[in-house]
């Protein structure tokens, strides 16, 4: 029995008591999010390549206020759901997590410290990866080198908004990154550092970054966004004691009025 067969059987069982399960579907060469219903052919259900499904669940729950949905979730998907709950965007009582761990290979690719959800229905949990790149960046780069590095990286930005659009935690209806007086509409490349600083403060700086890495994966300019956000996540934890998606009772740092320990 492969992991995928196990998973398909679990999803079939869950569908008996749920209105639907959100997972990926393979259709020829295309893989896309899909809402499976009872009786659907589950042979097309796949778990690669990865896609941030929490956002899809959020949209579906909004569109169907009575529905109870399952989600085939990786560790970062579950963290995203919890974080969405902290921001009052998702009602976790209406979501059942069907947890799938990432493989060791995937964990290395994402430099992920926690490549598994809190409960796992199939497969084996693998250890998180210690992010050496992250730990070494600040010690190996002086301030001038950091500036040169980020200036060069962000000079590649074509302002496609891909990083924002894919982010499972970017749920605002209006976006500061489209405000003319802050970032200059229609201006490419966008002002450095203002544009990127607003983006960072509104995601990782607000305690929203689950480190799923999607922003970096979709970036057509290969800007290493996860490096910046991982560093900022570290600061958020140090200053406010907040870990994204770790709990559903914590208040995100923008809700707080005191730094940790003050």
């Amino acid at each position: 029995m492969s992991i995928l067969d196990d998973l398909r059987r679990t999803v079939a069982n869950e569908l008996e008591s749920l209105d639907g399960v959100v997972a990926l579907r393979q259709d020829g060469l295309n893989v896309a999010p899909y809402l499976y219903h009872q009786g659907d052919d589950l042979a097309v259900l796949v778990i690669t390549p990865r896609f941030p499904l929490a956002q899809t669940v959020d949209l579906l729950l909004d569109a169907h206020p009575e529905a109870h949905l399952g989600i085939v979730a990786l560790g970062c998907d579950e963290r995203a759901l919890k974080e969405l709950a902290n921001w009052h965007q998702v009602d976790l009582a209406r979501v059942r997590v069907i947890g799938v761990p990432c493989t060791g290979e995937q964990a290395v690719e994402c430099r992920c410290g926690e490549p598994y959800p809190s409960t796992i229905v199939v497969g084996e949990q693998v250890k998180g990866v210690e992010d050496r790149v992250l730990a070494e960046f600040l010690t190996t780069h002086t301030q001038e080198e950091r500036l040169a590095f980020w200036r060069a990286q962000f000079a590649k930005c074509i302002k496609c908004y891909g990083c924002r659009d894919i982010c499972p935690l970017c749920f605002c209806n209006t976006c500061a990154l489209e405000e003319d007086h802050w970032v200059g509409r229609g201006r490419v490349e966008p002002p450095f550092p203002t544009y990127h600083l607003i983006k960072a403060m509104h995601t990782a700086g607000s305690g929203k970054c689950t480190q799923c890495g999607e922003c970096e994966r979709v970036c057509p300019a290969y800007i290493p966004l996860t490096l910046l956000y991982a560093l900022l996540r570290h600061d958020v934890k140090r200053l406010f004691g907040y870990e994204t998606g770790a709990s559903v009772t914590d208040k995100p740092p923008v809700f707080r009025f005191e730094a940790a320990g003050s």
Binding site: W87, H88, Q89, L138, H141, Q143, E144, E145, R146, L147, A148, F149, W150, R151, F171, C172, N173, T174, C175, A176, E179, H181, W182, P191, F192, P193, T194, H196, L197, I198, A200, M201, H202, G205, S206, L228, L231, L232, D235, V236, L239, F240, K251, P252, P253, V254, F255, R256, F257, E258, A259, S262
Partner: protein, 350 residues
């Protein structure tokens, strides 16, 4: 309507009895009208000369209900509690005023302040403003809202949705909600993002200002200062004519300042930005200064990660009893920025 029937009927309940019955209003009768509270009060000094907690407490004792309800004292107290430690009778005066305000609202009176405004069409009810509001003036409600139809310019449709709602009688117009909302769905008139940006653009920097540094460069510093953080006449006069190279923007509370305000200023070629708020424990709006301090700590960290000099952004406290401290603060900031040199953030004049 000087006396109201009490719930038990028979005898009448005085205004003072009603105030005492509300939690916070218990210590009303301990006041012997010394007026120490008035001497401490920033509202009386800066905003409303007729503002007077001592008089309000007298009005209550004398059963002058309508006069009390119409008094600015009832509505403008922000519970900063500067008067509380000064009161020889240890009366929690803002608690008493809060009790009077509660009765005034019950009697149909309304706050004269302009409350924060929610854009219900774009608000997504995340609750940031609800958590951060010092006055618990914001709640999450569900109602029928007109929202734009996607891709159909100018057309709207009616949907049932959750959004934030401001109680206009509790809102004290500090703007902390506006600076906390990631999508600017809640704003404070006079201090919207656009208005602050326009004010910053309209600042009259000295002619011949060289944004590129080099020959003839001198430091330019923008100061955001809380309206309440200065009380000495000399300091207020100093703010009206700051030294060359310094420009001042006043905000209702240091907590209204978002990191974006500061970074866009630096982006435009201003060499340093300082935010001045009230000392801890003395914030006019309870915790706006702490929110700002925490926010700026994170902003400075992020700037450092990006390789920018985080020292170009500074935060300072002003104790309410300080005299002529501003000149020192400004001079420190200027010499600090002089050492850092001209900002080189791809400068452009906004």
């Amino acid at each position: 309507m000087s006396h109201h029937q009490s719930a038990t009927g028979g005898h009448t309940e005085s205004f003072a009895d009603q105030v005492r019955a509300i939690p916070g209003g218990e210590h009303l009768e301990k006041c012997y009208a010394c007026g120490t509270c008035v001497g401490q009060c920033l509202i009386q000094q800066k905003v409303e000369p007729t503002y007077n907690p001592r008089r309000l407490l007298r009005l209550v004792m004398m059963d002058m209900r309508d006069e009390a309800f119409q008094s600015p004292t009832t509505w403008l107290c922000s519970a900063c509690d500067l008067c509380y430690p000064a009161c020889p009778q240890e009366i929690h005066i803002s608690g008493v005023i809060g009790a009077v305000k509660q009765l005034a609202v019950q009697a149909g009176y309304q706050s004269p302040l302009t409350p924060a405004r929610v854009d219900t069409a774009t608000c997504f009810a995340c609750g940031t403003c609800i958590e951060v509001c010092p006055y618990k003036a914001i709640t999450r409600v569900e109602s029928q809202v007109e929202v734009p139809v996607p891709l159909a310019k100018g057309r709207t449709m009616s949907v049932q949705k959750e959004h934030a709602q401001v109680n206009p009688n509790l809102c004290m117009s500090c703007g902390l909600c506006a600076s906390s909302c990631l999508a600017s769905c809640i704003t404070l008139d006079g201090y919207t993002d656009t208005q602050v940006d326009e004010q910053a653009r309209a600042l009259n920097w000295s002619p011949g200002w060289s944004v590129q540094g080099g020959e003839g460069w001198s430091p330019h510093v923008l100061v955001f200062i809380c309206n309440w953080s200065t009380r000495a006449e000399a300091d207020m006069a100093y703010l009206d004519s700051p030294p060359p190279g310094v420009r001042v923007l006043r905000v209702p509370c240091s907590g209204r300042v978002t990191p974006t305000f500061l970074v866009t200023a630096l982006q435009k070629g201003i060499d340093g930005v300082m935010v001045i708020g009230c000392q801890p424990g003395e914030c006019h709006y309870q915790h706006g200064n702490k929110v700002e301090q925490a926010r700026l700590a994170l902003t400075r960290n992020l700037l450092d990660l990006l390789g920018f000099e985080q020292e170009r952004i500074r935060f300072a406290w002003m104790p309410t009893d300080s005299r002529r401290e501003l000149a020192k603060l400004f001079e420190q900031m200027m010499s600090h920025v002089r050492e850092l040199g001209a900002v080189t953030w791809r400068p452009e004049l906004g």
